[in-house]
């Protein structure tokens, strides 16, 4: 599998480390409750099909990426910077 890193271009997947589902959002702050944190830490859909995943370009630019791919075919639809995605979410949500 090859992943087009937005900073480095298309690279072999062995340069990357996968973390998993990119959809859960961490409930930050002192008022985060155990229920919300449980939802963030444990349940995963493990989809057979389109999935959004965190990948880390550890042997490259050290950027965390959100990779949209099909887990059945490994076809990659879109790759964006996870930081950019998080910043837009912060701005959108704030």
């Amino acid at each position: 599998m090859r992943i087009p890193c937005p900073y480095c271009g298309e690279r072999d997947r062995r340069e990357f480390t996968v973390l998993g589902d990119a959809d859960p959002v961490r409930p930050n702050g002192m008022d985060a409750d155990a229920g919300a944190m449980f939802e963030y830490v444990y349940p995963r859909t493990n989809a057979a099909g389109p999935a959004r995943e965190f990948w880390y370009h550890g042997s490259g630019c050290h950027a965390w990426l959100v990779v949209e791919r099909d887990t059945r075919t490994h076809a990659i639809n879109k790759v964006i910077s996870a930081r950019q995605a998080a910043l837009s979410r912060e701005q959108g949500g704030a």
């Binding site: 599998m1 090859r2 050290h62």
Partner: protein
């Protein structure tokens, strides 16, 4: 007796080569394969079959060969199961037949042949059932001896192998006419083209046939195309290279046989090179593989594929027989008959079809070839070599045809293997009687020529040229299809016959000895699904992956079940297309180079001191420094610990992870990743920090120093350095992207040394430049800051201690590491300084009750480790919420305490388990386990750390410590984990 034609073929008759087969000397020519050279010398019998030890000859002329498997070379270079049909002949080649004893002609195990009616499909499963205990001791060794192929050398491979990456626009797989046309069309556009072919000569079937292109012999076209391709700077020609697998993202695995055609690889050359080719587009032109016909004795030496016979005649100038019968179910076999006749052999044609085209008949008539239509081969006569063939005529009568060669053709299977590697299902084409590439091809791949089921030469050239141009266009090049070429289209379609007309052994899968009756048995016993058929009979499970057998087996089963083969389905192919040596996949990653290893900047110093090294992660760290007269490693460790506790020692701690963290929000960032607070840490101070995973369990620990208002340097454990860096990046980039903080790993930029012991300050005084005040008042415990050493070299000093002694860690730029440790040793000479290794480091941390990797095992919480009071209640941090789950607050969880043996002569064992006094040592009474133990030179007995239910509340209790693996048990007293200097009087002086 030579079977070589006086002229013709693509061999170089001026270069005669000597070779040996089973100890006998023969001669062949440059350009021969081992198989063609053996056939030229009249050697048909080359091996024994896998299960029945039947004599076997050469079936094919390519990589699909299931019979002619030999041991190539000798000694450490011996390679078993090498296909004689793909081995390029070289001077001095040595090969031997395999799976026979004592000799190929007289094989004792072939005496099992009379038993073979009892050795059908499922034989092993049914026969060797009882008693079960006999399987491992008796049956399996017997079967392994009897069945099987060649023997591996059993010696280390003296050659080396390489891995390499290759990037291209267009990869063309197969250099037959369609592949050459594709490469040419793509190459002319300037695209980066890679053209691979498994053979040592480009041309594919053109080498095997006598064809014309644009009115001239195809040879002329071939030579012109090869010359043009060779002249193109962006085209890379890779003969002897098999593309064996298709992977995601346009990645193709290929094996280049760099030196297999030579006795030994030339100096500095690998034997083979494993390529990972990344191509934007690929054109598959892998051709087709001919199908055998299933008749009695179709495996006897002298029965060959008809297309292979043409290859031997036209490419190698060898006629494998003098009296030949061509058994065919389509027009293609007739071409073999014509070529045999032209080469001087006597030929008869047996065609299962009742009528054929008039042109075929006219040509046969003109050549004087006897034709039997509506006739089928029944059974071969002869054992070591074909002597004749029984043919069932259209009338139903049987006629015996004496012959020494049977050439068979049952149509062709497109070589679609690579098209199914990503999961595509082959599509049955009833008109062609063949499986074609799936509708859903691997992305970027197109299939042309015979591989796509288009057998005609003109059609293949046209398709190849168009696909090559289109692939190059997709990569942004201005490509045009090749001008149309004129060539005769050779119909290769057949009306295949699947069922044998005999009860004699008729083989479907030659390599695994699967017969028609095995398929029939599988059907009777209900193993009708192709996947069941495969596993029950082992059809297609040999190293040839059923290239010549699968379709016949599946068609036979479909017929028995009365269903269409399209419904019966087929198994899909997986990489590799042909076997790949493990050595090639490993490349240079063997022995001590299996993984890379990392050396610290002062590795040479440690080596000079005679250090014994231990692998920690990828690092090699000094474990201890033995000296002459030591009884064992413990003597060295005791000496090193005593040096530190009584005077001073130095330890290389460069392997600790070091992360430089800067930014206005750096302190806030640390607040969020560590459980303890950081905002109040003064510049010039260091603090111990503990971080959790989000699920509330401990992840890592270390010391972090504040070098400036917005500048911190964090240390991590050696083992977790990479993981922590990744975690911090995640926290910053994903969780809190607005924080103004940046970080970088500086592990390799700084060499770091721990100088520990009562005389540590005195030693340091001789290393750090004099303007720095190192007094306890000016640089107290947990002070940190920039200093210079050696007259102005920038360094960092941290007063932190793992040993519990007065201790400093001095960091210098990595390039000064080797000099720094020598300077420290020099300065420490008056105090008897000793270098100490990771063992002494570990002993002293256990004596001090510091947690390390054994305790940070992924199952412990901060509270378990007695570090709960570090957990800040004033801020959010990773793992805070989950760590507060009720079950994790339960004080009856195994928690961190120390242990001392009641009998001080007892040796404690890490991994031993605790049970309360008086309770039996059973799993339900298990109360925890010992995580770390050490012999304490300071206390002069063993001490241990461990996790015990309600541990801290049980200090003073005597419990049992059991080690069922070693059969040991002893009484231990629960105690504080801090064995040495609990009041920290030695630390702060």
């Amino acid at each position: 007796m030579s079977y070589r034609l006086p002229s013709g073929g693509r061999i170089d008759r001026s270069r005669s080569l000597q070779f040996k087969f089973d100890g006998r000397s023969y001669r062949g020519f440059q350009g021969d394969t081992l198989a063609s050279a053996l056939l030229a010398n009249g050697v048909q019998l080359v091996g024994r079959s896998f299960k029945y030890h039947r004599p076997r000859g050469i079936l094919s002329a390519g990589s699909e060969e299931p019979n002619a498997l030999v041991e190539l070379r000798s000694g450490a270079r011996r390679e078993p199961n090498t296909r004689a049909t793909t081995v390029e002949l070289y001077d001095g080649l040595e090969a031997a037949s395999q799976n026979r004893w004592p000799s190929l002609r007289f094989d004792l195990l072939s005496l099992t042949a009379p038993l073979s009616p009892f050795m059908g499909a499922g034989f092993y499963y049914k026969t060797f059932m009882w008693p079960a205990a006999f399987w491992e001791k008796l049956y399996e060794p017997l079967i392994r001896r009897a069945a099987g192929l060649g023997c591996a050398a059993g010696l280390p491979d003296p050659d080396h192998y390489e891995k390499a990456f290759l990037y291209s626009d267009v990869l063309v797989i197969g250099a037959g006419p369609a592949g050459l046309a594709a490469a040419l069309a793509a190459g002319r556009s300037g695209a980066r083209v890679v053209l691979c072919d498994e053979s040592f000569e480009f041309g594919g079937r053109l080498l095997s046939e006598r064809r014309e292109i644009d009115g001239a012999p195809a040879d002329a076209w071939l030579a012109a195309v090869k010359a043009e391709l060779a002249s193109m700077p962006e085209v890379r020609l890779m003969p002897r290279t098999t593309v064996f697998g298709v992977y995601d993202g346009g990645t193709y695995g290929a094996l280049e046989r760099v030196a297999d055609h030579l006795p030994e690889p030339p100096p500095h050359q690998p034997r083979q090179r494993y390529w990972q080719i990344i191509a934007k587009r690929a054109v598959l032109a892998s051709g087709a593989i001919e199908r055998p016909i299933v008749f009695g004795g179709n495996d006897r030496p002298g029965v060959m594929l008809a297309g292979a016979v043409r290859t031997y005649i036209n490419r190698f100038g060898v006629v494998p027989g003098r009296q030949c019968v061509v058994v065919t179910t389509g027009d293609d076999g007739w071409r073999t008959a014509y070529d045999l006749q032209s080469a001087g052999a006597n030929v008869a044609i047996v065609d299962a079809r009742k009528s054929v085209g008039p042109a075929l008949l006219a040509k046969a008539d003109k050549a004087g070839i006897r034709v039997l239509l509506g006739a089928q081969a029944k059974a071969v006569h002869g054992r070591m070599l074909v002597a004749g063939l029984d043919v069932v005529l259209e009338s139903g009568a049987t006629e015996y045809l004496p012959c020494d060669l049977v050439a068979m053709s049952n149509g062709w299977n497109p070589a679609i293997h690579l098209t199914t590697h990503l999961g595509g299902k082959p599509a049955w084409d009833a008109a062609r009687f063949a499986f074609l590439p799936p509708q859903a091809l691997p992305p970027g791949l197109s299939v042309v020529g015979a591989a796509s089921g288009e057998y005609g030469l003109a059609r293949g050239l046209e398709q190849g040229g168009a696909a090559g141009a289109s692939a190059a266009q997709d990569c942004g090049f201005d490509a045009v299809p090749l001008p149309q070429m004129r060539a005769e289209d050779d119909g290769r379609d057949a009306s295949p016959v699947w069922m044998p007309v005999t009860s004699k052994k008729a083989f479907v899968d030659f390599q695994n000895d699967v017969t028609a009756s095995d398929v029939q048995l599988a059907h009777r016993e209900g193993f009708c699904a192709v996947e069941h058929l495969k596993r029950y009979t082992t059809l297609g499970m040999a190293t040839d992956q059923g290239k010549t057998s699968n379709v016949a087996g599946h068609a036979m089963m479909a017929a028995l079940c009365g269903v269409d083969i399209a419904r019966a389905g087929t198994t899909v192919f997986r990489p590799p297309y042909t076997p790949v040596a493990i050595g090639a996949l490993a490349g240079h990653h063997r022995g001590k180079d299996f993984r890379p290893y990392r050396l610290t900047p002062s590795h040479d110093f440690a080596r000079e001191q005679g250090a014994v090294f231990v692998e920690t992660g990828l690092w090699l760290r000094a474990q201890y420094f033995p000296q002459a007269g030591d009884r064992d490693w413990l003597d060295a460790v005791v000496r090193e610990v005593n040096a530190v506790r009584s005077s001073v020692g130095v330890c290389d701690v460069s392997t600790l992870g070091k992360i430089d963290i800067q930014g206005a929000d750096a302190a806030e960032f640390l607040n969020r990743v560590y459980i303890n607070g950081w905002t109040n840490l003064a510049v010039g101070k260091a603090r111990y920090g503990l971080m959790l995973r989000e699920d509330g369990f401990v992840m890592d620990d270390g010391t972090t120093a504040r070098l400036g208002e917005t500048h911190f340097v964090m240390t991590t454990t050696t083992a977790n350095a990479v993981r922590v860096m990744q975690h911090l990046e995640f926290c910053h980039q994903v969780l809190w992207p607005s924080l103004d903080v940046r970080m970088v790993s500086v592990t390799e930029q700084w060499a770091q040394y721990s100088i520990a012991g009562p005389r540590a300050r005195d030693v340091l005084r001789g290393v750090v430049d004099p303007q720095y005040d190192l007094s306890n008042e000016a640089f107290p415990y947990l002070a940190s800051g920039a200093v210079t050493v050696g007259g102005g070299i920038a360094a960092r000093l941290f007063r932190i201690s793992f040993s519990g002694e007065l201790a400093y860690e001095l960091a210098v730029p990595a390039s000064y590491g080797n000099a720094a440790i020598r300077a420290i040793m020099e300065a420490g000479k008056p105090y008897g300084i000793r270098p100490y290794g990771t063992e002494a480091l570990g002993v002293m941390r256990i004596e001090k009750g510091h947690v390390a990797g054994n305790e940070l095992n992924g199952q412990t919480t901060a509270r378990d480790l007695g570090l709960g009071k570090m957990m800040s209640g004033k801020k959010d941090y990773i793992g805070r919420v989950m760590a507060a789950r009720p079950a994790l607050l339960d004080t009856s969880r195994p928690r961190f305490v120390g242990f001392r043996p009641v009998n001080t002569a007892d040796r404690l064992r890490a991994g031993s388990h605790f049970v309360s006094a008086g309770k039996p040592a059973t799993a339900e009474n298990d109360e925890g386990f010992m995580t770390s133990v050490a012999y304490s030179p300071t206390l002069q007995h063993w001490v241990g750390l461990g996790l015990l239910r309600n541990g801290p509340e049980r200090v003073g209790e005597v419990i049992r410590c059991v080690d069922p693996l070693r059969g040991e048990a002893m009484d231990v007293e629960v105690c504080s984990p801090v064995f040495v200097d609990p009041k920290e009087e030695r630390l702060r002086v």
